[in-house]
Symmetry: C2
Subunit: 466 residues, 2 copies
């Protein structure tokens, strides 16, 4: 076959397959409107403009900071501006953790300044120098295997290096040390816990993230050092001389106070079944380092833009599109927990949901978590998205990314749109999470996909639980 | 022609061309030894080990710091260890500049912390808050064009962005603002000078570097902010509301004291003309940010390894190979100036020199600065290097890179080996200049080339001035 006849043949087969799959389906009925929404959203820079506004006018917005409170009013205003017809906040509170100063230093045998960040939830040193010898462990498992009492008066250091994967698969094996490493180390007698940042970059920009002390174990400082600093420490330890380290952290820790947080919720009210909601989620808070452009400014940008495009239609879809900007995701999904507590009796009306809280590249996969009947309709939708690079996952087990998982656990069906996350953990929870990192081409594509999803689900009568 | 017959034909032509070019030349006489040196150095990890040792056991070594003094004894010991038969230091002194603390902050309309570094030589604010409105200029030329007095009480901000080029060509148009921007701004009445870092990266790691105050102009703080911070400031200024900024710098400035510096010099003494020296140069000092792996640990590694390989030969080459590790390059080439002051009467015996102080990739070009007669021999040497990816430049105007230029100005012929510098200004003068950034494959290749150059020049009788 010639090249052109091969292409013709493939096109014909594709058309046949589409015709067969789409015949009489929801997608067939929606195609003209979906095509129009796709064209409009692919041309728009709105989601980028939203991220630019959030990162410039608010910036870093860690729970407990003035900027976090400001982000709430920013979001309310932005939703009104973008044409959401109902906008409200839902407040709750949580214990206030504050980051203070940090000095980290290798004292000997070769003195070096070290670039370090307290992990979220860590205690400090009350402004006093904590000096001790560093003992290295290749992994959290190795640290766990250390004999009781063997780290008495020492600083434990886990040097495990995260791997880079398109789906962020390297995060799981690395993040355990961040969450519980300090308590495991303290349980063996350690006076502080150091770890190589959970990140795939080679920058002197350490990665923070939440850590949690186990009950009945002494709370010791929990600190991430940058990848190059971890390399240096590893190289120094390889010389088999004792390496001493000092930490001085002032003003870091839980204050004992409570801080108010707020989910910000906006709706495009449905024209036939306003009580039935299709949820689009993202989180509004960020860490205090960077400006939270990737995590989760992108999610805020995509969901607000999708809501706006739906709201601009001549007629609203049958069901309500609800954008939920969750509070306090970074420090323990507090906003999501509050949401499900307040809305647990309405979960049957939560038709389906999707969150954006991962990745900076093109969506390559639609991972459903729906009933077996409705899976056929979701497959049609995935076929519609195929020319945009999206393939249907082989499993039907999605619960919803990040915050949305709390809704999934209460029965809300979900779609996880999986994007290329190869560079995500270069920036995640670091000073480098800034606007310039946003992949603008992928952002347009992904905004279009969320817009199409919102319309597909809200304009349909599909029961995604079935 | 078949693929294999084409290859055969090309090989034949290449052989013909080599035979013609090398007949009776220095290269012809040296070929066996050059091939052996090439094989040995390409297999060795020595230059990397030297960089690892310097960055781990000494680290950042800014003039005036204890680590700078330590780097001198490190270098003396390393030269002895690597078999240099004469090793000595040459001391001089210069005014001491110290970096203190830095707090930089956008106050309004949208408050943000800013990641900033004082430029070398800058004054501070004596620990007081300096608050003023920011006025942006797209370039140093635009700042120069501002009317006298127009910046009274303002902070001038040059937002010019450096371009990425293989030969670092983007540095020239960007670095002028770093060197004289503060004085140009002060002359118009400004109270401080901010600039976008001279760098091609997108990290929150600002680029320091030397700045110089002009006489008779008020000395105002001179500060580089990271590229993402510069983007943020530009985006905020684009909203056409006044942007206010505050700086607080304590302990930054010249102290009025003098500090000792030392060039470290090691030789493999020539077997026939020991008074004739082939010089290999690099600089031993670094900035205080990063560990100076790229700038100029690579130069230290390459030149010490090249000297070692020459010293390991059964018989030393006819001429002396002299490795000069210059002091205080970063703060104004003080070591190079001291070297030429002390050795100006011996310059006729400085046969030829090459420095390494740029780039992290493979050498792609040999740029000579020799007499017209000896250019033929240099062409032969370039032909010998061609299989390693090296092409002869079309001009014969090299004076020597960096420090070595001071020797070139006094008549020393030079070879500039130009490497791929595409990523050099991602790390240059930042916290990110660390060991992991060293391109180890390129380092082996480049170390081999410097070793071959040292042998070619030292084992020859060529007068490179002719």
């Amino acid at each position: 076959m010639s090249k052109s006849s091969v292409l013709t043949h493939i096109t014909f087969l594709a058309a046949l397959s589409s015709a067969s799959a789409f015949a009489g389906s929801t997608i067939d009925a929606q195609r003209v409107q979906l095509d129009a929404l796709k064209a409009k959203s692919l041309q728009s820079e709105l989601s980028y403009q939203v991220i630019e506004s959030l990162t410039t006018e608010v910036g870093a917005r860690m729970v407990g900071t003035p900027a976090n409170a400001k982000s709430v009013s920013w979001a309310v205003n932005k939703m009104h501006e973008l044409g959401f017809d109902k906008v409200w906040t839902e407040e709750s509170e949580l214990p206030l953790w504050e980051r203070g100063t940090m000095q980290a230093h290798i004292d000997g045998p070769y003195p070096h300044n070290v670039v370090a960040l307290a992990l979220g939830g860590s205690v400090g040193t009350n402004g006093k120098d904590l000096k001790a010898q560093v003992i290295e462990f290749a992994s959290l498992a190795d640290l766990k295997a250390a004999p009781q009492g063997s780290l008495k008066g020492k600083i434990a250091f886990v040097s495990f290096k995260m791997e880079r994967d398109i789906d962020g698969a390297g995060y799981g094996p690395a993040v355990g040390a961040r969450v519980i490493g300090a308590s495991v180390a303290a349980d063996k007698g350690a006076v502080a816990f150091l770890m190589r940042s959970v990140g795939t970059d080679t920058n002197r920009t350490p990665h923070t993230g939440i850590s949690r002390y186990q009950p009945d174990v002494k709370q010791i400082p929990a600190v991430a050092i940058s990848n190059p600093d971890a390399d240096l420490l590893v190289n120094m330890l390889a010389r088999k001389q004792p390496v001493t380290f000092s930490l001085n952290m002032k003003g870091t820790g839980y204050t004992g106070e409570k801080v108010k947080i707020a989910n910000v919720i906006g709706e495009i009210t449905g024209s036939e079944h306003p009580e039935q909601v299709v949820t689009l989620g993202a989180h509004l808070d960020s860490w205090d380092v960077g400006t939270g452009a990737i995590d989760d400014g992108i999610g805020v940008g995509i969901t607000l833009a999708a809501g706006h495009f739906i709201g601009q239609l001549p007629q609203a879809p049958k069901r309500t599109v609800r954008v939920i900007l969750f509070a306090a995701e970074e420090v323990g999904l507090f906003g999501a927990k509050d949401y499900v507590a307040k809305h647990k009796d309405e979960m049957a009306n939560h038709v389906i949901g999707a969150e954006w809280d991962f990745g900076n590249g093109n969506i390559y996969q639609l991972h459903p978590g729906v009933g077996t009947e409705s899976l056929n309709e979701v497959r049609d939708f995935a076929n519609y998205l195929a020319p945009m690079g999206v393939a249907l996952a082989t499993t039907n087990t999605a619960k919803g990314q990040s915050d949305m998982e709390a809704l999934g656990e209460l029965g809300q069906p979900a779609i996880d749109f999986n994007p290329d996350g190869l560079d995500y953990f270069d920036y995640h929870h670091t000073e480098n999470d800034t606007l310039d990192k946003v992949n603008q081409a992928a952002l347009k594509n992904n905004t279009a996909i969320y817009t199409l999803f919102a319309y597909f689900a809200a304009q349909s009568d599909i029961d995604f639980r079935k």
